[in-house]
Symmetry: C2
Subunit: 584 residues, 2 copies
């Protein structure tokens, strides 16, 4: 049998991204995809239950969110190895948003989580079709980084309730802390011991188990995969402990009965007010889910010299969320750790995702009774270990050292998330990074220039030994001219001239000006007028081609009292030749 | 008596801006200031009554807003000739904001207008103290221009009710139009005739009267001043007509009894909910009032080679609004037409403003009975003529021709103001100009470069006849690298390399890169990694000094697989010397 025989087995339309990888699918890929699917399924079962717990929904919804969404992404996504499903940060955002609109009503809460998946799916597909992927750029890396770290801390704090066996309420660090302090007397110590043991085991598995396995005959990557399966072992051991030691009687809370079977397909009920209230959270969930997922997909694609089309990614993730919504799930996206495991386990194509979905479907059909005695504390410990690896507080110091503005945006995001909740945090972060960007470019570096003697070069008078004309002021602006700096520059230059009554000409060197928008054009017009009224002539030099093309479409070159020189040296030669030093 | 005798007559503290102009006040300035004050007072009386009408408050509040605020600005402002008081656009914004919170209750409406002045005053003073004047830069010229034009149209439409003698309701063009169509049968024709005659006279005065006066022995500037006093003449003539022809019986609405006397000093009652609801409108009123006022002040200052300190202007306008709030007025700012008249009439110092305040105070004390028979139609005509001169629809076409993005922002602002009200309009405008800026700089111009044969210069391969290396890709990015374009550039460069398997090196020419923020640094790191994984080495060349200083504070230069070259020619000489053309 030729290796090409499985080609074009399925009559898929060519516009479907999946047709591309199915067209050259090889039989030998199947075993690789199958193995990866088994490993990811084992990893995904406890994760899907845990993230359902984090999102505040019944455990089976975690399984449902790990079946159809994986199939939808395999058909519509552009990454070959991204593993889609419930992830920690998105589950936290889902819980916060649904909690806000539900007001304590659990039916509304469940409906809200499904509506969030639906709205988020519609938004992502819409952005994909309109090629609006660039909107995600509003989230700067500092904001994303701060958001992920702070969310990790907040998630860990929120899971303390399962480790301590007491109900904690609140969406912020303060609220959770206050809730904890009020109930210290009610801590359930059997649960605490079980939870701490699980935590210790999971942390040890991350480092100790790996080096232990490395000493065996296992390859390094296999050792890595086995150590990543530690949560499965923890699930089995603690479930057996609960059954064997009858810990439920000692007060240990377990997952309890999970209805078996596959999800029924249906659309969430329409409720205009509820949908409207969830629009903004759904947008934030979409953007953050997309940014996180696409960066994982790109990192993995680069390792095999493949490429990710970010608009196709939007559609793929959107379809995954729509699939989640119609099958009773909640918002999903591409997860970092699962995707890395999928890649490392050798997944060759999105078929691995489809096979994983089959694995979870089988679990939902046949194995749910096995999780009845699974302690919630185990799942909480799994979550805590997973999210604490996302927390990178050192990034704050590193970013601050590199750029005060970015560090500040990160700090604002983190403080917002921890003290005022995920939504306020991300919005405060976006606004502060925008304002800081405008503030920074709003006060651009303006250098006064002089001639480097004997050359045609002009340099900053404060940094170099240069020749300066008494009547011609040479200024270089190191920034595009646009609305955020137009007025400031106009004033700065005007004030600078007013302080030196002997100045007759101002020449603006525009070599670093990549754009001049309409506001800056108005400011140049007004500067030209104000300087003219004060008896000073404004000139430009070294205007870039595209900028000059645009200026020619305006009346400014006609209004300009001075000239536009090709080079700054030309300007000085025309305006004050006596000031120029002769060549040595 | 020496001309220096009036120096330092008042023991003012030196931190008060007024101490500066009082210190060198000359006796001969007094007569100039006095004359200007008389002319501005005559102009301000009908304007203050008209803008009170526009703001929806009793006529005397217009007078009150023209007394203490002028004194406060004279003491704290930095412009020598700016005439502060009620202005059209701010009065419209006041009416819209107060109308929204009052819900038809006139006591709440009046309280809201005073609270708006108070909040706006506090915000302006606060921004002045914190030196936050740059926040006003968020309002691009396109947004301001579109806002002023659209507000002018909306104000003119809103005044139709006084010209037609029917009550019109609504804050948008649609609402006003619908209200008008529903009441066409109730139009008060005597009022219409009176209003149209006044309108015709005022329009004629703007052009015809001026040229008529120019033929007399009056100087051009005096003719200009007299023609600007036409509203006063209109007020006198129509008041006499109402009295003489008993037009009130024919249904012509008049200003009615205005309580005489000076305003009592008091603070508006505190109402947390009301204040909170007015925070955003007060911020918008502050910013728009400030931007409009400061540009007038700067234009006038330039004509006498004086300077405006924008932070002092914030404080000055803030104190004027606080003064308005404690004396029963509504929000004020520097007005364009009055300031020009003040300047042209020869005002030398802010004393002209104080004398104008005395003039208005005398009016409030003794002359209010004279306005009892003044028809509202006359005031409406005054407003319409004044605001239609602000409408510049051609600006939309001009801006669009220069820059699609700016034109679009202006169109969004205008449509927002006309169809959804002033607040929505200005917010939509600001957001759209921000998003368009991010979108534009988010997809920067990236040129592939080749060597101009025989030189050390590198130019765009699409525009010039150049020499290209088969293994080294030379790219120049014409934009600072920051969060809005970082990810896009990373993908663009990576995809570009993936399409050409023969490429071994990528050199990024950074001569137009004024900044690299933390997001862009992350993207460079990731690009370096992704290219490295694909067997391609990333290099930089011609990095600017300040950008390089900052990069050195990060681990990026260490992580970079390639090198950072001083010049692009150096890079090619090191990486692929064979590709370089020899000098001719």
């Amino acid at each position: 049998m030729s290796p090409a025989s499985p080609r074009r087995r399925l009559p898929l339309p060519s516009w479907l991204p999946a047709s591309r990888w199915l067209a050259d699918y090889q039989r030998r890929d199947l075993s690789a995809d199958g193995l990866a699917a088994v490993i990811v399924t084992l990893m995904l079962i406890p994760q899907s239950l845990a993230y359902a717990l984090l999102a505040g929904v019944p455990a089976q919804m975690g399984l449902y969110a790990s079946i159809l969404p994986l199939v939808a992404y395999a058909l519509f996504g552009s990454s070959r190895t991204l593993a889609v499903g419930p992830v920690a940060v998105i589950s936290l955002m889902t819980a916060a948003a649904a909690g806000q609109v539900a007001g304590g009503d659990s039916a509304t809460f469940l409906l809200a989580t499904t509506v969030l998946a639906l709205l988020s799916g519609l938004m992502l597909v819409g952005m994909g079709l309109l090629r609006l992927g660039w909107v995600a750029n509003l989230l700067s890396h500092s904001v994303i980084g701060g958001f992920i770290s702070a969310s990790g801390l907040l998630i860990a704090a929120s899971q303390l309730k399962h480790l301590l066996g007491i109900p904690l309420h609140g969406d912020t660090l303060w609220a959770l802390g206050a809730s904890l302090l009020a109930q210290t007397g009610r801590i359930q110590w059997t649960t605490v011991i079980l939870g701490l043991l699980t935590l210790a085991f999971l942390f040890w598995a991350r480092s100790g188990l790996k080096s232990l396995l490395a000493r065996t005959r296992l390859s390094a990557s296999a050792a890595d995969l086995v150590s990543k399966a530690a949560p499965v072992l923890a699930v089995i051991l603690t479930t057996l402990a609960v059954e064997g030691l009858d810990l439920r009687r000692a007060g240990v809370a377990t997952v309890g009965a999970i209805p078996g079977g596959l999800p029924a397909l249906s659309l969430p009920a329409f409720d205009a007010e509820l949908w409207r209230a969830l629009l903004l959270p759904a947008l934030l969930i979409s953007l953050i889910g997309f940014v996180e997922s696409v960066s994982v997909a790109q990192t993995l694609a680069a390792k095999r010299r493949q490429r990710i089309d970010s608009n196709a990614e939007l559609t793929g993730l959107g379809m995954a969320n729509l699939a989640s919504a119609v099958s009773g799930g909640f918002p999903v996206t591409g997860g970092f750790s699962r995707s890395v495991v999928n890649f490392d386990a050798g997944a060759r194509s999105p078929l691995a995702g489809i096979l994983t979905a089959v694995g979870i479907a089988l679990t939902a059909l046949f194995f749910t009774p096995w999780f009845q005695a699974l302690p919630k504390a185990t799942l909480a410990a799994t979550i805590i270990v997973a999210v604490l690896s996302l927390v990178d507080l050192g990034a704050l110091a590193r970013t601050w050292r590199y750029s005060r503005a970015d560090g500040l945006a990160m700090a604002v995001t983190m403080a917002g998330v921890l003290l005022m909740g995920v939504e306020v945090g991300v919005i405060a972060g976006v606004l502060s990074s925008l304002l800081l960007f405008l503030w920074r470019t709003g006060q651009p570096h303006v250098a006064e220039l002089g001639q480097v003697p004997g050359t045609e070069h002009f340099r900053n008078v404060q940094r170099h030994q240069v020749q300066v004309s008494p009547s011609v002021l040479s200024l270089r602006v190191d920034e595009s001219l646009y609305f955020a700096n137009a007025r400031h520059l106009e004033d700065q230059i005007y004030d600078c001239v007013m302080q030196r009554p002997q100045i007759r000409h101002v020449v603006l060197l525009c070599s670093a000006v990549n754009q001049i928008d309409a506001s800056a054009l108005d400011s140049l017009e007004s500067l030209n007028q104000r300087l003219g009224d004060a008896g000073v002539t404004l000139h430009l030099s070294e205007v870039k081609g595209p900028v000059m093309d645009r200026l020619r479409r305006s009346p400014f070159p006609k209004h300009l009292h001075g000239r536009i020189f090709l080079t700054h040296f030309d300007a000085l030669r025309a305006l004050d030749p006596a000031s120029l030093a002769p060549p040595p």
